[in-house]
């Protein structure tokens, strides 16, 4: 993959550059921990899984052939280690989270907005406000149900493609979109409430 954003770091890592390794580890740590946490019972075990994943990466880096991006390969290794560590199957959407994303009471009988969403989208062009809201989004992501959190972290925070996320988490495209939609919709509501709206 020629457009792999990590190409340069991987070359440096292969050449023995400790800083390149630290940079890669730093870049993916939060997401790796969060994804691993979904499979294992504690943060301590999740940290071990992340370490094991890096060991796997280092052992395999010379054989890594770039048929996928580095990050897809990395998260693949992580999820495999996490599954072995946790042996917990949880690949379907929990039934208690299948209702509509938006509250039906926001709409009238014809399905139109009863009380429209308070406008704020153009306000986050302001850099200071955007920084504040980005921090709020981070805590809101932490509060998402696990699978939504994984998908939102990988897609929107790490910038992976939908296909990459499907491959890493072994979920269907439809499932990936449903989880992404639910996660993003909740984040939108959280940010809306920061602006004084509830919708």
């Amino acid at each position: 993959m020629s457009d792999d954003p990590d190409t340069e770091l991987i070359e440096r890592l292969r050449a023995g550059d400790e800083w390149a390794f630290a940079e890669l580890a730093g870049k993916y740590q939060a997401t790796m921990l969060s994804v691993a946490r979904g499979y294992v019972p504690s943060n301590a075990v999740a940290e071990e899984v992340v370490q094991e994943a890096w060991v796997g990466v280092l052992r395999g880096i010379d054989r890594f052939e770039r048929r996928s991006s580095f990050r897809t390969w990395l998260f693949h290794i992580l999820v495999n280690r996490a599954i072995s560590a946790g042996a917990r199957e949880r690949r379907s959407i929990p039934v208690d989270d299948l209702g509509p994303v938006v509250d039906a009471s926001w709409f009238d009988a014809a399905g139109n907005w009863q009380v429209p969403p308070e406008p704020w989208a153009d306000q986050v062009d302001d850099k200071i406000l955007a920084a504040k809201m980005a921090a709020r989004i981070l805590t809101a992501i932490d509060e998402l149900p696990l699978q939504q959190r994984e998908v939102v972290l990988l897609r929107d925070v790490q910038g992976l493609s939908g296909d990459e996320v499907c491959a890493i988490l072994d979920i269907s495209r439809v499932n990936q979109r449903v989880l992404l939609h639910r996660g993003r919709s909740k984040l939108r509501q959280v940010i809306g409430s920061e602006f004084g709206g509830g919708r």
Partner: protein
């Protein structure tokens, strides 16, 4: 609970439109559905703001820089890397 909406064909309600926002942004709406969605946006006063807010949320999430390594985890990982280098010879 499923609510039956009094809709004529081609007419999309806000309640339906907001549920299609992600599929729309992902480019996965079938053409006919996408046209209905866009027709709704063109005449709705509020759903364009909803779509803009979803885009803003995506941009905000994309602006987050994952935390720097916690110092302890960092030194452990660097230790792993040094071991690996030493093992490589």
């Amino acid at each position: 609970m499923i609510r039956l909406l009094p809709l004529t064909r081609g007419d999309m309600a806000c309640l339906q439109a907001v549920e299609l926002v992600t599929d729309y942004l992902e480019g996965t709406l079938p053409p006919a559905r996408r046209r209905r969605f866009e027709a709704h946006l063109a005449r709705c006063l509020d759903c364009p703001e909803y779509l803009a807010q979803m885009r803003a949320v995506i941009a905000l999430a994309g602006s987050i820089t994952p935390d720097d390594l916690a110092p302890r985890l960092r030194s452990e990982l660097i230790g792993l890397y040094r071991q690996w280098l030493a093992g490589e010879g």
